[in-house]
């Protein structure tokens, strides 16, 4: 296979054989539907996930439009109308949590980037990877079917006893989510084995990029927590279909047990959502500060700490649900405790930027937005974790604002930042940088305008999940809705320039950002086998002194022979 190396010193940044890359090697719809290539599967996850994100986002627009006036602009006047409102926010929650936030960061970016970062040709089990994608699609289709039959109106948490009594199609939805959970388990399992067994020669544990570590911690949670969600959902199905009575107090069961089971998964699940985001932000900040990441081992260990402590905080969802005072205190303490590793990360990112040569590119702007928004979301999480304030703020808009700052301002912002960061690698094209920055600023403003007023109305006592509200909250609600529309405009703009870049975008160099991790060491986009030569790694992931920008290529090149990435010849 002929390769051309355009750089001085040679072997590190390779160009693909002319015209050949993973996107065009293998043509036709079948070559995509039955592909075992982790990059193509990642791309399919990306497209499916963005589709679900679009649907979930449109539902959010319906909710915000409804709340423009106190009596409700869309659904008002009858029990049926309010039930439709319940269905809308339930679907919004289910789609965003189970079909976007949990599966897409690992499924799309993790799948694409993780094997590249550790020097592997693919994930450990490519067929399982494809199965995992199809389970995701099947689960999503079942959710759509249940929506058409009779959309669920329980909220995304499916709390008993209402989820047993409601006449909507809970069973379909729950079985769909069971499949989504299975998909998530298989992805996590695949990543753990890949990281353990498929690292390139010399890729020691502490030479892995922080995104790989974050994915590893995420995978641990996926594997260890999701089965419990699975059995919980099966129990709920048994409850509805067979009337088994485990969660039904009329039959001697305990509805609160459902809440414990549910949050045993669903609290760790929020760390499934946020950990990959933290990994992405780590990568972006070190690259665009031109400085090795500060406190690498602390960042690594804090990911694992978040994963482990995250398993013992679920009770903070049950402070007002009849949990004993002793357990309340323990869970409250553990909730404060899990804030520590998150703070360790934030301080390390700030220290990485300190005296760095910061360039405010689009991905970097997203990373900075993440730090601000996640910090607001994190601190308000501590407020909610405190017992006394929790009792007051429980089930108010304060909670809604808090988790939207973390999920939207945290996970989604970091994911979009990562998408911009790896876009040149994925598609071999550059997007319009100016529009990228404008969009990021719009999103930052939109998110704050949407969710900050909700802190205020929540603190004043406005309950969540209601289709109507008292007139005194209307100014805040209008601001919130305007913010949501700004976000929508930003996403439309983003879709425009990203799609435009696929057709008209400038061709991307192998390493346009000057990153030192392995995922930038091959041509953009990569070939199907990822590496022309098996890389051998001799140093840590972040080192910027040995590369400089080459204007002719539009990317960075090595300025001296690099011991880190010496090829080991063509016999591999």
């Amino acid at each position: 296979m002929t390769t051309t190396t355009a750089e001085i010193g040679g072997h590190a940044w390779e160009h693909a054989p002319i015209g050949g890359n993973y996107l065009n090697e293998g043509k036709g719809i079948k070559s995509w539907l039955f592909t075992l290539d982790h990059k193509r599967i990642g791309l399919m996850y990306l497209i499916s996930g963005l589709t679900m994100f679009f649907i979930g986002g449109m539902l959010a627009m319906v909710i915000r439009t409804q709340l423009l006036v106190p009596n409700g602009l869309i659904f008002h006047g009858s029990y049926e109308a309010y039930k439709h409102y319940n269905q809308v926010f339930t679907l919004h929650g289910i789609i965003m949590v189970f079909m976007v936030l949990v599966p897409i960061p690992p499924g799309a970016l993790g799948n694409f980037v993780l094997p590249l970062m550790i020097g592997a040709k693919d994930v450990a089990f490519p067929r399982l990877n494809l199965l995992s994608y199809y389970l995701y699609v099947t689960g999503a289709i079942m959710a759509v079917v249940s929506t058409l039959l009779g959309a669920v109106d329980t909220g995304w948490t499916f709390y008993t006893p209402f989820s047993i009594q409601t006449e909507t199609y809970v069973v379909w939805m729950v079985l769909g989510i069971f499949l989504l959970g299975f998909s998530s388990i298989l992805t996590g399992l695949n990543f753990i084995v890949t990281i353990h067994k498929l690292r390139a020669p010399g890729m020691k544990w502490f030479r892995m990029p922080v995104f790989v570590w974050a994915s590893y911690a995420t995978s641990i949670i996926q594997v260890a927590a999701t089965p419990v969600l699975g059995v919980t959902l099966l129990l709920l199905v048994a409850e509805r279909v067979m009337g088994v009575g485990i969660f039904n107090s009329a039959l001697g069961g305990d509805p609160v047990l459902f809440q414990d089971f549910f949050w045993f998964y669903s609290h760790p699940a929020v760390y499934i959502m946020i950990l990959p985001a933290m990994g992405i932000v780590g990568e972006i900040i070190t690259v665009f500060s031109r400085k090795p990441i500060f406190g690498y081992k602390f960042i690594v260990m804090s990911s694992l700490a978040i994963a482990l402590i995250g398993f013992v905080v679920w009770g903070h969802h049950l402070f007002v649900n009849g949990q004993s005072a002793e357990w309340d205190a323990i869970f409250s303490f553990m909730t404060f405790f899990v804030a520590v590793p998150s703070a360790v990360k934030v301080f390390n990112w700030l220290a990485t930027m300190y005296k760095g040569a910061i360039s405010l590119t689009t991905p970097m702007l997203y990373a900075l937005s993440f730090i601000v928004l996640f910090t607001i979301g994190g601190f308000t999480g501590v407020i909610l974790g405190a017992l006394a304030t929790n009792v007051v703020l429980h089930d108010t808009y304060f909670v809604v604002a808090h988790f939207h700052y973390v999920m939207m301002g945290g996970t989604i912002i970091a994911f979009i930042g990562g998408l911009h960061y790896w876009w040149p690698k994925m598609f071999g094209r550059m997007y319009n940088e100016t529009l990228g920055r404008i969009t990021c600023v719009m999103l930052f403003i939109g998110i704050n305008l949407t969710f900050f007023p909700q802190f205020i109305v929540g603190a004043e006592g406005m309950p969540r999940r209601y289709a109507t509200y008292l007139p005194q909250y209307q100014p805040y609600m209008i601001a919130s809705t305007v913010g949501a529309y700004i976000q929508l405009a930003a996403f439309v703009l983003m879709a425009g320039y990203l799609i435009h870049s696929l057709v008209r975008g400038k061709k991307a160099a192998a390493n346009p950002w000057g990153a030192s991790t392995l995922d930038w060491s091959m041509a953009s986009p990569p070939t199907t086998g990822n590496f022309q030569h098996m890389p051998v790694i001799t140093q840590g992931p972040y080192h910027y002194e040995d590369m400089e920008y080459d204007g002719r290529l539009g990317g960075f090149v090595h300025v001296e022979p690099v011991p880190a990435l010496a090829g080991v010849g063509s016999e591999h």
Binding site: G230, V244, L251
Partner: protein, 292 residues
């Protein structure tokens, strides 16, 4: 056909066979095997976690309502449960034998061992299915389906048949005539419900109709036990059925001469799965059948 051709056909070295099964993204067969094994163990870990929810529900309800579990567990037949255990343990042994045969390339042994393991799986399902059938007939079911015709657990029926109980138990006699109720157990009268400990100390002969009546006063919400029982054993039986399907797949491949010293990973991994299915039953049996 020349001697040479036969020799090359049959004497492909284990290394060659292993190389043929090596996927493109692995460097060595060893790396591939280790990856598969780690993946399998992780998957089995998730299987334990799947059951852990049910074990947790069991623990919660048993802690809150011990009398329900003590009372209701008497309905289950320990002999049948023990038979299930024996069958599964034996099939675990034949599975281990099958793995060994695959590693040594003994095809006939592999096929026999797999057949025996599959038979064990079916045997388990038949015995357990019969138990389900009995329970169904007596309406010993979950939730609202729980309304047994007679408020008396199995061992009391045995007592009744042994003649120590007087007249008013015609219902019990009727059930006794159906055969299966009195067929399995010689266990002494059980410690039943709140009145249990006192009863347990009485010899069988002095067991009076009055004391049986007192014992038969069942605690509230017995259906919770049966809900948990059917969920746990049902989920386990589904795993046994999946196991049988996987074993049949192995059998087909074994007949096709796929396995040998160079390539036996599927036998090894599915063997691990079967071992875990066995092991989960080892927990279920005492937790459900042997409550004192």
């Amino acid at each position: 056909m020349s001697e040479n051709a036969i020799a090359t056909l049959t004497l492909a070295s284990p290394e060659e066979v292993a190389g043929r099964h090596l996927a493109h993204h692995f460097d060595t067969p060893q790396q591939q095997f280790d990856s598969g094994k780690l993946g399998m163990w992780l998957f089995l870990g998730t299987e334990f976690l799947l059951f852990s929810g049910l074990f947790c529900a069991y623990a919660v309800y048993r802690m809150l309502h011990p009398q329900i579990f003590i009372y209701a567990s008497r309905y289950l037949d320990p002999v049948s449960g023990a038979l299930c255990t024996l069958v599964l343990v034996t099939s675990g042994f034949t599975m281990a034998w099958a793995i060994r045969c695959a590693q040594l390339g003994k095809r006939t042994g592999l096929i026999i061992a797999l057949l025996l393991t599959i038979a064990g799986g079916f045997g388990f399902l038949v015995i357990h299915g019969y138990e389900y059938f009995e329970e169904y007939q007596q309406h010993l079911m979950w939730g609202t389906h729980y309304h047994p015709a007679v408020n008396a657990p199995r061992q009391q029926v045995v007592v009744a048949k042994s003649g120590a109980v007087g007249g008013s138990w015609s219902q019990l006699d009727q059930l006794g005539k159906q055969g299966y109720l009195v067929a399995h157990s010689n266990i002494a009268p059980a410690a039943i419900g709140p009145a249990g400990p006192a009863l347990a100390q009485q010899p069988t002969a002095s067991f009076t109709a009055a004391s049986v009546t007192a014992a038969a006063a069942q605690p509230h919400n017995v259906q919770i036990f049966f809900g948990i029982y059917f969920l746990m054993t049902g989920l386990h039986s589904i795993h046994v059925i999946v196991g049988i399907i996987l074993l049949t797949y192995l059998l087909v491949r074994a007949i096709r001469k796929d396995f040998g010293p160079g390539y036996y990973a599927p036998v090894d991994f599915i063997g691990l799965y079967w071992g875990v299915v066995d092991m989960i039953w080892m927990f279920l049996f005492p937790l459900l059948y042997l409550i004192h």
